[in-house]
């Protein structure tokens, strides 16, 4: 069972590489799941901020960052990756999931 939900931030260089390349890598492991795709979601900034702060806190100070910095700086500190681990941010994401704008993108 999945433990969290992870996004790359659009328009920001990701420490995990491009979302499409990541999707291709996952699809390679699950060839029966009809190929890779990327789900693009408009997540409210305040929810992203909460997730970024929660994720940075997991590193117990190993990642130096001003926790009052603007959202772009926080997401950059997260490596362009927004990870929702079990907690308030994930709860908020799930609570609003049905109302968020989404787009499923095929990956060649």
């Amino acid at each position: 069972m999945a433990e969290n939900v992870t996004f790359t931030a659009g328009g920001v260089r990701s420490a995990l590489g491009a979302a499409a390349a990541y999707a291709r890598g996952k699809a390679e492991t699950f060839p029966a799941e009809r190929g890779p795709a990327v789900v693009a979601v408009d997540v409210p900034d305040d929810v992203v901020r909460q997730a970024a702060l929660g994720h940075l806190a997991l590193f117990n100070g190993l990642i130096s960052c001003n926790m009052t910095a603007d959202l772009g700086e926080l997401v950059a500190a997260c490596g362009g990756v927004v990870q929702f681990d079990p907690g308030p941010a994930l709860d908020r994401l799930l609570a609003t999931w049905g109302t968020l704008s989404k787009e499923i993108r095929g990956v060649p």
Binding site: G10, V12, A15, A21, E28, A40, H55, D70
Partner: protein
């Protein structure tokens, strides 16, 4: 081969704060293992690391939980694919990465990153390996990820 004591010291130093985010922390861990070998593994709700000295295995606990360790593992997978495209999946693989700050030293990495198992083996103890065709790019610093770029952007679920 560097002394085993130095390896443990270097790993501890790798757990120093970095302003370069997950990429910087991952670089520090890889760099710490140039000339030695360390295995990181999720054990329950902690991340243990081990190194062997003269047949005796020592163990420490990394100062971050498994959820953070998974992010480091994902970064390692990205580095492997940067150095050799499509060579690993996000779930497992192996490759050779140049050790940041220790060029031309190289570190062989093997990783597993699944819900059931998370493990990273960094082996820099062998003969110096060239990384021809596998040269990794420099880790991007925060200055290359400009603040503010994300606020109006969409997020892509991976």
């Amino acid at each position: 081969m560097i002394s085993p004591q130095t390896i443990s010291d270097r790993v501890r130093q790798a757990f120093m704060p970095t302003p370069l985010g997950v990429a910087g922390l991952t670089d520090q861990l890889i760099g710490a293992c140039a000339g030695g070998g360390v295995e990181f593994e999720r054990v329950g709700d902690r991340c243990a690391y081990r190194w062997t000295v003269g047949g005796e295995t020592h163990e420490g606990t990394a100062p971050f939980p498994p959820a953070a360790f998974r992010t480091v593992l994902a970064r390692v997978a990205a580095l492997c694919n940067e150095s050799r495209p499509d060579s690993v999946t996000p779930y497992r693989g192996e490759g050779v990465l140049s050790a940041p700050g220790h060029a031309p030293a190289a570190v062989r990495v093997r990783f597993v990153n699944t819900p059931d198992q998370q493990r990273l083996t960094l082996d820099g103890a062998g003969p110096t390996q060239t990384v021809e065709g596998e040269r990794r790019s420099e880790s991007p610093g925060v200055e290359t990820w400009p603040p503010g770029a994300v606020s109006a952007a969409r997020r892509e679920h991976i």
